[in-house]
Amino acid sequence: MSEPAQLEFRTAIRDALAEEIERDPDVVFFGEDVAAAGGVFKATPELHERFGEERVFDTPISELALAGAAFGAAVTGLRPVFEVMFGDFMALPMDSLVNQAAKFWYISNEQAPVPLVVRSAVGGGGRFGAIHSQFHATWFQGVPGLKIAAPSNPADAKGLLKAAIRDDNPVIFLEHKRLYSVKGPAPENGDVVPLGQANVVREGSDLTIVSIAKGVPDSLAAAEQLAADGIDSEVIDLRTLRPLDLETVLRSVEKTNRVMAVEEGPRLGGWAANLVGALAAEALHDLDDAWVVATGETPIPYSPPLEDRFIPTPDSIAAAARERASSRG
């Protein structure tokens, strides 16, 4: 069977960058090993050669300087995109992103926007250990003024990154390592995917599964397993964690009355528990059941059997749904 034009996730990232650098002379892209080397995950090859040192350049390993410089450049007329290689490294530029970039629009009394994007490779399953595997979105979800996007497929990777670069706010953009080699349908006409709109990727009537990034294909695989058991699942890809499209989830829950939020991260303080809380506050009358599938409450282990048990998988997601269905009738 022949497929429509296929796009690899890492190529989608590269194409989005190339198209936006081409489109807007104020867009610049920099980071550690992003230019000459083309990125350690090979997500940004040939951009340096194509656009030159003025637009695409390598930097020192100085995350605080990178983020601070991006902030200063963004409020003075550039649209910087920079890479913090692994999301875990985002602990270093926290001050610049949280205390400078995120607050500027509001405390300046809206004098100027802060159009910057920081891209990082995130997530577990790659045997990178505790400090190169985190899905760090929740470090930032409680910070007003920041947007957080995490695509689940190549078309969204391109469309969301293009939207992030065009957005006039600081955007934290998360690329799951285990998705870089995934191929999927190319977007039509280079479509931009707006930030803040969740996507119903599978329709169903018995259960709503909500996730983001790699959790979405895992939830879709789980939904296929559940369908064989007679459980018809709706799967929602949040696409962004801030702003959070609660409306789309509420509409689904109104229909299914059951919701399972799947997070690659700890339950306590996570986005999934927060989402379930918001659903309870808004629509308790629609809910027969609501729960969270998350990781354990330890750092991410290295050893393959330990890591495989730690992170939600299609099997563990489906098992959680079956167990919940049987215990609740």
Binding site: V28, E54, F57, T59, P60, S62, L64, A65, L66, A67, G68, A69, A70, F71, G72, A73, A74, V75, T76, G77, L78, P80, D95, S96, N99, Q100, K103, F104, W105, Y106, I107, S108, N109, E110, Q111, A112, P113, V114, P144, G145, K147, D168, N169, P243
Partner: protein
């Protein structure tokens, strides 16, 4: 020896005391070919001094809230540096930043109104004393976390490199022990960014003497490690600051990259409103008051042929300007929480 030029115009900052150094009177002096500019600079220094005294009074009356960090005693640094800049150039200031804003051109009335939390404040009362932003006058921001200004100016220089202009970071001696300082000096030199790093060395990081917590001989020497030209400047002498800044700004405009100026000065008040500065050795403040930047600058200008009468008139104008600004700021309304209409995101 480093191949980096480290001319010394003033006190070296070495040794255990923060007392002003007699050698500050020595060194080369700029020719005063444009006295009117320097009289204006003197007037701006007096305005900053009056502004800080007024904020101090208003704080004691309960009109300024939270905390505030006053820069009285340090006025020559921002004024001298900003005299070397164009209106379109950028500066980033610190939480002791009232002088940075006034020197770059923020009018005193909206600045005072910001301190008072009023709707007419330069940031509508949303920012307060520590976080003032005034892009219309090139003030990228004042930063409440030590060292933040260094990165913001580095970023503004990234824009300036493409679009023209120069960026200046003001920061204190304490910031030179932050990662921001070291990362951004390296980053900006590697990229040859048009930025001038201006350290206002007032010899205290909050309550702690600089020499207790700062390794190495002098802050200026840290420039050499990055191949960045650096110099020590008498930060209480407007003419010396302006000359050093003009040279550093010229280097930046020529595309040759960053410079570091260690401007040695002293704050007359404590660190913040909760600090009576009892940690200062007896007599230290008094010896610095003898080298008050208003006294030093006045003497330099008189020596250059400006009359005392002309300087008195400038000072009087500044005092009247500040009195009017304070009255207007106090008469301004508070923001109405019911009508604030804040948006989290830019559209």
């Amino acid at each position: 020896m480093s191949d980096v030029d480290l001319p010394v115009d003033g006190p070296t900052g070495e040794g255990e005391s923060a007392a002003p150094d007699a050698t500050a009177q020595a060194g080369t002096r700029p020719a005063l070919d444009e006295p009117a500019r320097f009289v204006q600079g003197f007037e701006r220094m007096v305005l900053i001094r009056e502004f800080e005294h007024e904020i101090h009074r208003l704080f004691l009356k309960g009109e300024v809230h939270g905390t505030t960090h006053l820069s009285a005693g340090q006025e020559a640094v921002p004024v001298g540096v900003c005299m070397a800049l164009e209106p379109s150039d950028y500066v980033a200031g610190t939480y002791r930043g009232h002088g940075h804003a006034l020197a770059k051109g923020t009018p005193p009335e909206p600045l005072a109104a910001e301190m008072l939390g009023r709707a007419t404040g330069v940031c509508g009362g949303r920012a307060g004393s520590m976080n003032v932003i005034d892009l219309e006058h090139g003030l990228v921001g004042c930063f409440g976390i030590v060292g933040g200004s260094i990165a913001a100016a580095t970023g503004a220089a990234l824009s300036a490199k493409r679009k023209g202009g120069v960026a200046v970071a003001f920061f204190g001696d304490g910031a030179t022990n932050q990662g921001y300082f070291h990362e951004c000096l390296n980053f900006s030199q590697v990229l040859r960014l048009p930025v001038v790093f201006v350290c206002e060395n007032n010899f205290y990081g909050e309550f702690t003497p600089m020499h207790q917590v700062t390794a190495g001989a002098a802050i200026s020497a840290r420039g050499a490690a990055y191949g960045i030209p650096a110099r020590v400047v008498d930060g209480n002498d407007l003419l010396a600051v302006e000359q050093a800044a003009a040279e550093a700004v010229a280097v930046a405009r020529s595309g040759s990259g960053p410079s570091l100026l260690e401007c040695q000065t002293y704050r007359h008040y404590g660190h913040s409103k909760s600090d009576p500065a009892t940690y200062r050795p007896k007599g230290e403040l008094e010896s610095w008051l003898e080298r008050d930047p208003l006294v030093v600058t006045r003497a330099r200008l008189v020596e250059a042929g400006v009359t005392d009468e002309r300087l008195d008139e400038a000072a009087e104008r500044a005092k009247e300007t500040m009195a009017r600004a304070a009255d207007a700021a106090l008469a301004a309304p508070y923001p109405d929480p019911e009508r604030e209409g804040a948006s989290e995101f830019a559209p």
